[in-house]
């Protein structure tokens, strides 16, 4: 009786394990494919000018080793001399033949076909690329502009969306539901439909080529974040609000003393999304910012590309520096982040 009960269970367990192994294999293949570009960015950012254009591609940057002989830099070779492998410097070329010198003992000279030898290389990381990239364009200025947009945009979004979400979550008024549906409907509206008149408006009030068009609208709330916060506020018990009213608390005080302190995870989620969006955005800065002193990092990187397209190592060093902050935010706030995607994704 007992054995017949465990047998199918065991084969089921085995099938499940097989399933997991196949799953892991596929996941690994996919993860390798996803990682290759990332690794390539890191690897390229540490290369020298020659290594970055080398084919076949080098994953770990290597460079030929040179030694100094008579004040001249000579490449070091591994080359067979009389059947014995030697490490010698190529001093002079005579057609296909090279004069090789032992760097330890310069009196020792050999003649051998250059093609028989192999250049000695060593791993070399060009950490200075990051400094060179920073010096090649005013990235500090771009970073400052981006940070201004990130900081004020986040403040604006948090303030306005909290107020609006509180209004929609806690107050009954004629037309309120209808207005909420209207708010949700704006998600479907392609931004291009409002883009041109908004652009003209900002041009008219001389905000073109300033950071204002990227900051001020955040103070007027947006559908995604209002929705996310409203859902969260609605899940908070109303009893506390009512108790506070009896204690003589105003609506402001309920929002500030009761709702907000309970909503830190939701507010943090909104803040993280806003920061990330502002840091990464390219489209709006491209439209509103013209002169380089007002550029954001995204625009600066694109401008850098126009000038340094041939210098992939500097380009990738600059790109990597722009990639690191959002990746760090993602790592440290992963839980909040994924919850946010899911709330706006599934229930929206």
């Amino acid at each position: 009786m007992r054995t017949s009960a465990t047998k199918p269970q065991r084969s089921k367990k085995r099938a499940e394990r097989l399933e997991k192994i196949i799953g892991l294999v596929i996941l690994t293949i996919g993860a390798v494919a996803i990682s290759i570009p990332l690794l390539w960015m890191i690897s390229s950012s540490l290369k020298g000018k020659n290594a970055v254009n080398a084919f076949p591609p080098q994953w770990i940057p290597r460079e030929p080793v040179k030694v100094e002989l008579d004040g001249r830099a000579c490449y070091l070779y591994d080359i067979p001399i009389d059947g014995e492998m030697r490490r010698l410097a190529l001093y002079r070329k005579n057609g296909p033949t090279g004069i090789f010198v032992d760097p330890e003992n310069p009196e020792e000279q050999y003649e051998a076909p250059v093609l028989d030898g192999k250049r000695v290389t060593r791993i070399k990381f060009h950490w200075e690329n990051f400094g060179l990239a920073l010096k090649a364009a005013p990235f500090a200025r771009y970073a400052l502009n981006t940070l201004l947009i990130v900081v004020f945009g986040t403040i604006g979004t948090l303030l306005s969306c909290t107020l609006v979400a509180y209004g929609f979550a806690r107050f009954r008024a004629p037309g309120m539901n209808w207005l909420f549906l209207l708010l949700l409907a704006t998600v479907m509206l392609p931004p291009q439909v409002t883009l041109i008149p908004t652009f003209i408006l900002f041009t008219r009030i001389h905000w073109y080529d300033t950071l204002y068009p990227l900051i001020i609208p955040t103070f007027f709330a947006n559908a995604w974040d209002v929705f996310l916060l409203r859902q969260f506020f609605m899940s908070l018990p109303r009893e506390l609000d009512e108790a506070a009213i009896i204690d003589g608390c105003s609506y402001w005080c309920i929002l500030w003393k009761i709702i907000v302190p309970q909503s830190f995870p939701a507010l943090a989620t909104v803040a993280i999304f806003t920061m990330l969006y502002a840091w990464n955005d390219f489209y709006e800065p491209l439209i509103y910012l013209q002169s380089p002193e007002h550029w954001t990092l995204a625009l600066g990187l694109q401008g850098f590309n126009a000038l340094y397209a041939k210098q992939g190592h500097l380009l990738m060093a600059a790109s990597l520096m722009m990639v690191v902050p959002p990746v760090l935010i993602f790592f440290f706030a992963q839980r909040l982040f994924i919850q946010g995607v899911v709330v706006s994704g599934i229930k929206g």
Binding site: E19, K20, G23, L24, I26, L27, A31, I34, P37, L38, W40, S44, A54, F55, P57, S160, L163, G167, F168, R170, F171, R172, A173, M176, T186, L189, P190, Q192, V193, T194, L195, I196, P197, T198, T203, P217, F220, A221, V226, Y251, L276, F282, Y283, I287, L297, A298, L301, N305, G312, M316, S319, P326, V327, F330, Q334, F337, V341, V342, G345, I346
Partner: protein, 300 residues
């Protein structure tokens, strides 16, 4: 009685007060500009001089005298019909595998989602290097299996496929949402099915896919809307070329508005875009009756 009415009114007024930032913003940045762009779409306007009313000229020109409009539409639709299903299938596959309770779910999830948090310009520049026909990693990988890789972004035939391939790097964006959906399906359903003798495939097609259909539906709708916003990669990598091979709709609109300063014509393009997106979304919504399953329907 009077007191309670006035309390009600007080509450209403406070409610309106709290949502007023959005209402004001809606008027200034949404409703007003929508009306304005509808009016502008009936004019010739270059900002420098005042708009000239031309009736439906822009729309007539768009549909009958502008091959680039049709071309941009074709490019965008081609991308949508290939990239969206591919991303859907791969995103779902990864989420499904992660949901088999494999070890290290958080680790895998992080790797797959990472590209989705990176700035578009940086990733575009990176892919520009990867796609380099001469020294790029992709053609090197192809050469390892004996294939001579194409010119990718420099080739009119291969530029759009290159951008589609690149879009798969962002497969983690959909995956996260699918994974959350899968984790929300009660395990008791699978247990019951197993007792009834259902195999894995039957569980997938009879339980998982029907229950996931609203999530798939959501990703489909946002995918369509997203394709019509597609901009950064094409702008940075190809500028719409070579020979307009990657002239996406949004890129064409941008060029009309900000390169040629045809604000009226660009407004018409924007409204046509709006209608197209609306029609597609409605089509998906309508068809959803056929394939999207909502919990609670069973009881009805």
């Amino acid at each position: 009685m009077f007191k309670s009415i006035s309390l009600r009114r007080r509450e209403s007024l406070w409610g309106y007060f709290f949502i007023s930032p959005w209402v004001i913003g809606f008027i200034i940045f949404t409703a007003g500009p929508m009306l304005a762009s509808l009016v502008l779409s009936l004019t010739h306007y270059d900002i420098a001089s005042s708009p000239i009313f031309v009736g439906f000229d822009n729309y007539v020109k768009l549909f009958t005298g502008d091959p680039k409009f049709w071309h941009a539409l074709r490019v965008t639709m081609t991308y949508a019909f290939i990239a969206i299903p591919l991303n859907l299938i791969f995103g779902f596959l990864v989420a499904y595998l992660l949901n088999l309770r494999v070890p290290g779910v958080a680790f895998w999830r992080t790797i797959y989602y990472l590209p989705s948090v990176m700035p578009g310009v940086a990733t575009a520049l990176l892919w520009g290097l990867l796609f380099n026909p001469r020294i790029g990693v992709i053609n090197w990988l192809l050469s390892l299996v004996g294939i001579k890789g194409p010119g990718w972004l420099a080739s009119p035939q291969w530029a759009l496929p290159a951008l589609i391939l690149m879009s798969l790097w962002g497969v983690g964006g959909g995956m996260i949402i699918y994974l959350a959906g899968l984790q929300g399906i009660p395990t008791s359903l699978y247990e019951a099915a197993q007792i009834d003798g259902a195999n894995r495939w039957q569980q997938l097609t009879r339980i998982t896919l029907p229950l996931m259909s609203p999530v798939i539906f959501y990703n489909l709708v946002t995918g369509i809307i997203g394709t019509f916003q597609y901009f950064t990669d094409a702008y940075v990598l190809t500028g719409g070329g070579p020979v307009d091979a990657t002239l996406f709709y949004n890129l064409y609109l941008y060029k009309q508005a900000f390169t040629y300063r045809n604000m009226g014509y660009a407004s018409a393009l924007a409204w046509v875009l709006f209608v197209i997106v609306l029609v597609f979304t409605l089509l998906v919504f309508k068809s959803s009756d056929l394939w999207v399953y909502y919990e609670g329907e069973m009881r009805g």
